[in-house]
């Protein structure tokens, strides 16, 4: 944002933004309440947003609670992340048809509409960047992800509330959205006045912004916006030391703490489903009864299943201990070797949605405090 | 004797052996040959010798009723046949059969044991030469037990 160039919109302006995106052909997806949780789904306007609600989060605990204001983005993160849309749980890859001995294979069709994401948090912007590295920037880009990602319009929002399991400050991924968005909003509530400081990060963002009923923001607005992220940064629910975490974990692969964790872990895979960077998939082939039409689909998989590491003879990772260790060491250590970044953005979802409340920050702390060196 | 001492000096099993010990050890040796199919020894017999192969191959076998002789290892030139002479009651635990024309140095076990007892430094040297062979065979046996190549049936 250039100095003196700050603008803001009100709630009507936000509705205008949704209409502008919809008019440009985007499928608009944002936070909304379904089954007592804030999830990401198709939204028509600000009326669909979780106005006046926030979330209370802790290990294995998530509750919606009413706020004492009308904030539209006054919550942290829910069980969904944007990978649900960019890297969906099920992706058809191809269909094949047999005619005698001949077989014709047709790649799956692309999505009809580009996606617009409303309310993307800084941690999730970083998660997208991490998935970009994995799914686009390797030698074999995933065309499905790449197409959706290139077409998507991202409206970020600075976090005004830190969740009880958030630790983006430790992972240096938030709470302020700094890049990776087309537009960014900072929600400011001052009594009855509800404003969204808005700035563009791309040409596409500027073009949309130009069509909105904006007003010039004053110094007081900018000071309030800065205070929002400062306040959030100061109220993280969790912290994790990351210095030499690669060496720490890889030199402690036989640490007794992994057994301790395994005694609690149900190997349910929830952490991998809610994690915004976990990308693992498996494939499923299916066939009609005559074997004429066959197809292959890709679906999310989890390193917590026995099948995941199956080779002829059995699973490589038979114990829950080895599966949790694989997940945690991949996320925090070997991800660096494979992709040049951490695989963790500190969003805290794995802590909140673990049915037994296993806390990755606590596990790392325990290993650090009792490591041999 | 000179020829045998030279054979001992050339055999990998005795590589680096002190010249004085080589002479002592030579006093327990004989030059032997076996025709293809001939047995070096049989299971249950007294393990009164062991063999340093100079030429040819030897099959180590165990007779299994109904299945015939099962070979569990073949030993080639430069290697050693027989370890039972080291450990009481000094009895062979398998058959050893020459696969080709075999030339070997036969070591008299009682003679060598006596010399080792008399000079524990020589005894320790001998143990250091035999122990790696035993450990290698133990590890090879482990790998065979694991049947790593997967079932063929």
């Amino acid at each position: 944002m250039r100095c003196g160039d700050a603008e803001f919109i009100d709630v009507d302006g936000l509705d205008a933004l949704f209409r502008a995106l919809s008019d440009r052909g985007y499928r608009v997806i944002g936070p909304t309440i379904v089954d007592t949780a804030i999830v990401y789904d198709d939204i028509g306007g600000t009326a669909d947003l979780p106005r006046g609600w926030t979330d209370e989060q802790d290990g294995g605990r998530y509750r919606l609670v009413e706020r004492d204001d009308d904030a539209l983005f006054g919550f942290a993160t829910g069980p969904h992340s944007w990978k649900r849309f960019l890297h969906p749980p099920v992706q058809r890859l191809w269909d094949a048809e047999r005619d005698g001995d001949a077989v014709t294979v047709r790649p799956a069709a692309a999505d009809p509409a580009p996606l617009a994401f409303i309310g993307v948090r800084s941690c999730d912007l970083q998660a997208m960047r991490i998935q970009d590295r994995v799914l686009i920037e390797g030698p074999y880009p995933d065309p499905h992800y790449a197409d959706r990602r290139a077409a998507a319009f991202v409206v970020a929002v600075d976090c005004g509330t830190a969740g009880g399991t958030c630790f983006c400050v430790s992972m240096e991924t938030g709470p302020e959205a700094r890049h990776g968005f087309d537009l960014k909003l900072t929600e400011i509530i001052d009594g009855d006045a509800q404003r969204f400081i808005v700035s563009a990060g791309t040409e596409a963002g500027r073009a949309v912004l130009a069509a909105l009923p904006t007003r010039e923001a004053g110094d007081a607005d900018l000071a309030s916006a800065a205070a929002v992220v400062d306040r959030t940064a100061a109220s993280m629910g969790r912290t994790m030391r990351t210095d030499d975490i690669h060496g720490l974990l890889l030199s402690n692969l036989e640490h007794a703490r992994w057994d301790d964790t395994a005694a609690r872990c149900l190997a349910c895979g929830n952490c991998t489903m809610v994690c915004p960077t976990c990308f693992c998939t498996t494939v499923e082939d299916s066939s009609d009864l005559t074997g004429t039409r066959t197809s292959r689909s890709r679906r999310w998989d989890s390193c917590f299943t026995a099948d995941f590491s199956h080779i002829h003879g059995g699973s490589v990772r038979q114990s829950t201990r080895s599966r949790y260790r694989q997940w945690a060491t991949h996320k925090l250590a070997t991800w660096h070797d494979q992709f040049g970044t951490s695989g963790c953005v500190g969003c805290g979802r794995c802590i909140t949605w673990c049915p037994v409340g296993i806390d990755i920050t606590e596990e790392v702390r325990a290993i650090r405090e009792t490591a041999e060196q | 004797m000179e020829g045998l001492e030279r054979f001992i000096g050339e055999h990998p099993f005795f590589a680096g052996l002190d010249a004085g010990y080589r002479q002592i050890v030579s006093g327990c040796t004989a030059n032997v040959r076996f025709e293809p199919g001939q047995y070096l020894f049989h299971e249950g017999e007294d393990a009164d010798r062991f063999f340093l192969l100079r030429h040819g191959r030897v099959a180590l076998e165990i007779e299994v009723p109904g299945r015939g002789a099962l070979t569990f290892q073949t030993v080639s030139e430069g290697e050693v046949v027989g370890v039972s002479w080291l450990i009481p009651p000094y009895r062979w635990a398998y058959d050893a059969r020459a696969l080709d024309l075999v030339r070997a140095i036969a070591m008299d076990a009682a003679c060598l044991r006596g010399k080792c007892d008399a000079d524990p430094t020589l005894g320790y040297d001998m143990m250091k030469r035999f122990l790696p062979i035993l450990v290698d065979r133990l590890q090879a046996t482990r790998m065979q037990i694991m049947d790593v190549y997967g079932a063929s049936d």
């Binding site: 077989v103 990308f279 082939d285 114990s319 494979q338 | 191959r57 073949t74 997967g150």
Partner: protein
């Protein structure tokens, strides 16, 4: 992501439950594979598995894969008749460093079905025999009946400049060659350890034993190459299944030098 359709031209039994498929592509040639690379083969309606290329990279007309029927997909593959359609994606992965081995003494150490991914390297080495030092093929199988490419061994034995040593774990009466694990053949091979490169392929336990034998013989850890196996779904570094500590087998391998992965080998459930 989308396979090319190929057709089984010929099918040949190369061991118990082991079949070599000769494939030809419908839609123009499938890209030729470097020795040690693999393709993902699909039986339509059944599934897809990684299978290493086992033919001669110099023989552009034939695309060979040697398959052992061990799971539903490999069993369906091994059972395909001439004319049947097969989906092919690939070739993938980093193979044997044949191009960087000029002037070296070379040991190929194979166990069981592990000979199949090494065969393309052997063909290339033989085709360019003068560029290399000594060349030894050491092969271990479970029993004489399990020996892969049995007929081809006859011709390899007659090749000048190739020393072929075969051993079996369990012998029958008719067997008159070596008995014992494959590592016992390493000290008997002729090579200068200071300029030797070893390519090792077989079950992981066998490879770990072989590495010990090679290191004992003085071969440098950076000159020992292994072909690793893990579960694979995508073969292109996207599905995450082939994680092996710091590396992904499909993207960074399947062939690795021992000095790169040695610290992780044998680590329980890694």
């Amino acid at each position: 992501m989308v396979p090319i359709v190929a057709r089984v031209r010929r099918r040949r039994r190369d061991g118990p439950g082991v079949w070599t498929l000769d494939l030809r592509s419908d839609e123009g040639a499938v890209r030729p594979a470097a020795p040690g690379q693999f393709n993902m083969l699909t039986v339509f309606g059944v599934g897809e598995v990684p299978i290493s290329v086992s033919g001669d990279p110099g023989d552009g007309d034939r695309l060979l894969h040697t398959v052992r029927a061990v799971g539903p997909v490999s069993a369906a593959l091994a059972d395909l008749r001439p004319g049947s359609a097969v989906g092919v994606r690939g070739p993938f992965g980093i193979g044997w460093p044949v191009g960087a081995m000029a002037g070296r003494d070379i040991l190929l150490v194979a166990g069981g079905l592990g000979l199949a991914p090494l065969r393309p390297a052997l063909y290339r080495l033989l085709a360019d025999r003068d560029r290399f030092g000594t060349l030894t093929l050491i092969y271990g199988a479970r029993s004489p009946d399990d020996i892969l490419f049995r007929r081809e061994f006859q011709s390899w034995r007659r090749k000048p400049g190739l020393d072929v040593q075969v051993t079996v774990d369990h012998a029958t009466d008719a067997w008159d060659a070596h008995v014992g694990v494959v590592t016992t053949l390493i000290p008997r091979a002729t090579f200068d350890p200071s300029r030797a490169t070893a390519l090792v392929c077989g079950p992981e336990v066998m490879m770990r034993f072989a590495v010990n034998g090679l290191r004992n013989a003085g071969v440098d850890e950076a000159a020992i190459f292994l072909s690793m196996e893990r579960n694979m779904k995508c073969a292109v570094g996207l599905c995450g299944h082939c994680q092996f500590g710091t590396v992904m087998i499909c993207r960074d391998g399947p062939v690795f030098s021992y000095d790169r992965i040695g610290a992780m080998l044998g680590r329980k459930e890694l």
